[in-house]
Symmetry: D3
Subunit: 135 residues, 6 copies
């Protein structure tokens, strides 16, 4: 029960079509999924969110499949039904096997449980764990 | 400001020492971090949580470093300070570089943003995304 | 798939009818939405939640439309489908335009992303930001 | 207890200085707050997050003060200490009075409570609330 | 690092003193905890939140200790440090033993884990579980 | 719209059947609910989650009905539709009355509201509330 009707390619203004075309080209697909068709009511948001997603989800120091699984972990924790479905599909096309998905779910469940134990007991951070990224 | 004092090895009953010893052996370290010392007030929980963590975080279809990064993604989304520090340290020992961490944060931020856009606009799941794990 | 059947006006005890009447009078409408019909199984909760909602959402230092948009921001962050629909409808009757809604969603998405970046990097609060409401 | 040291202007590479300069110019301030100094370890993220924040938080159909209050509502719901402090300070410079802040908190508390009541009772969305943004 | 200074009894206006007096009388204590002293900047919110808390947390079909433990379960899930400390202290005065607290934490952790598994796998609700509260 | 098909008893491998049999025997029921049939795709997770659930939810210092209500409080706060339905049904079989459920919801709503007030005002923990579980 979407709050807005979807903006189809044929009805879209040029700025929206340009984004749709780039989505298709970048992903090598011939269709646009509903997320973008809903955002298209606000072309500035559509362009910004797509540019950001394209940059952040691209292969980098982390491979694209790992990024999809991190995205799923967040989406499950936040319970975003749309994102769970769309990014599980994306991860599948990038080689995530069912066994990888099961292990992903097991880690997500474990982290959610242990987050609460650490916060509930108000455990102080060990001195040795401080500043792990400091040069 | 922990709710409970920490249970040190010297003061621990045998059931707790057995878990502490297994933590040290499994991780090849010579100390126990505060999380386990807080849980040790309830030996049944300590044993269960450690057994589960050991099994879930082990190398499998997903490598141990990827699992640590998924764990961090959840901990950042839930804002568990203890878990962010301890698992960032763990991921570092398993080879996560600062650049990998930055990309991890960027994906976590993007997913949290887009989860809200998808939920806020109440976007319906595309038919093509259904049941992506079905055989 | 509600957990309880809805309590319709004709079947409601006097204490519930009194709240229903006040909702209609306050909002100048001739119907009662499902939220109140579900709460009506517990007349004490119904009366308390309505009294609180009436007081908090009324025009004050903040106008009623701004309050509705703040309510939507929280509901999107928590993913409350019912509240997103009902308060978007309420905000619309108070003059929220589609463009305002799009900007509201963009701020909600940005804040959710940046909340995670600030928490993930464990950024310390700047000295200059402390106690901004102190007299 | 930040995970990374802060990148000061004097130590920053040109790409980071350019963002710092734009932050100062846009906000008409002579200092950089810690959030940006932490992100600066990843210049691509710094530039992207700043560009997005600048665009989204600017005056539009919603005024800048209302946007700051929406941002605070999300940050309180997610419990981001840094963001609560920094955006309450920002909202104060844009004219938010203490009374406005109190009303903002009251709406945030009410929405968080009622979100749980609606979800807990699994209340079905009223037919009349559907598609409130449809043209 | 509170956003507001605390309102002490000696500096409080009569409307605030009346609430402080009722808190002391209801709880049979001779001091006021910080939560109320912060809310006191907005006397209307102070009075409303206290009235609601007094009513909801009182002995009813559920005993007061069970209510405190439910309150803790929510506060741990949301990571409210203040509320975890204050309501654990309250539950202690109402007879919660350390063992009860450990079991409470174990259930909270389990529920947080299983919530994510159910949402992550998108498990459909069994027909037999529908409308469990229907008369 | 589950991500995986359900594993029925007749199609299940022996390791899964053993868990199904133990669920039936422990709960004295003759059917398996969907949660377990979805997890059964990963027999290791199925066995681990069931063993943990069985241990944690059993009668202890807290009675089983109280544990179910704590579980519901978490599930409502996280908005897990499946868990709300299944554990409300379970609590009903253990004697939770509709009035108890209404009071449970009222406490959950109150805690969610007050958690945000305490975090929003950044209220410092009172010295007297520290370490309430210390011996």
């Amino acid at each position: 029960m979407a709050l807005v009707p979807l903006v189809e390619y044929g009805d879209a203004p040029p700025a929206v079509r340009a984004v749709y075309d780039d989505i298709k080209a970048t992903r090598n697909v011939d269709w646009i999924n509903n997320f973008w068709k809903a955002l298209a009511h606000d072309p500035a948001t559509l362009a910004r969110v797509w540019a950001e997603s394209k940059q952040v989800m691209a292969q980098g120091a982390l491979d694209a499949r790992t990024k999809e699984m991190i995205y799923i972990a967040v989406s499950v924790t936040n319970d975003c039904e749309y994102c769970i479905h769309s990014h599980t599909a994306a991860a599948r096309t990038k080689g995530m096997t069912p066994q990888m998905f099961h292990e992903l779910m097991a880690v997500v469940a474990l982290a959610n449980a242990n987050n609460r134990l650490a916060n509930g007991y108000r455990v102080d951070v060990d001195e040795r764990f401080r500043s792990p990224l400091a040069p």
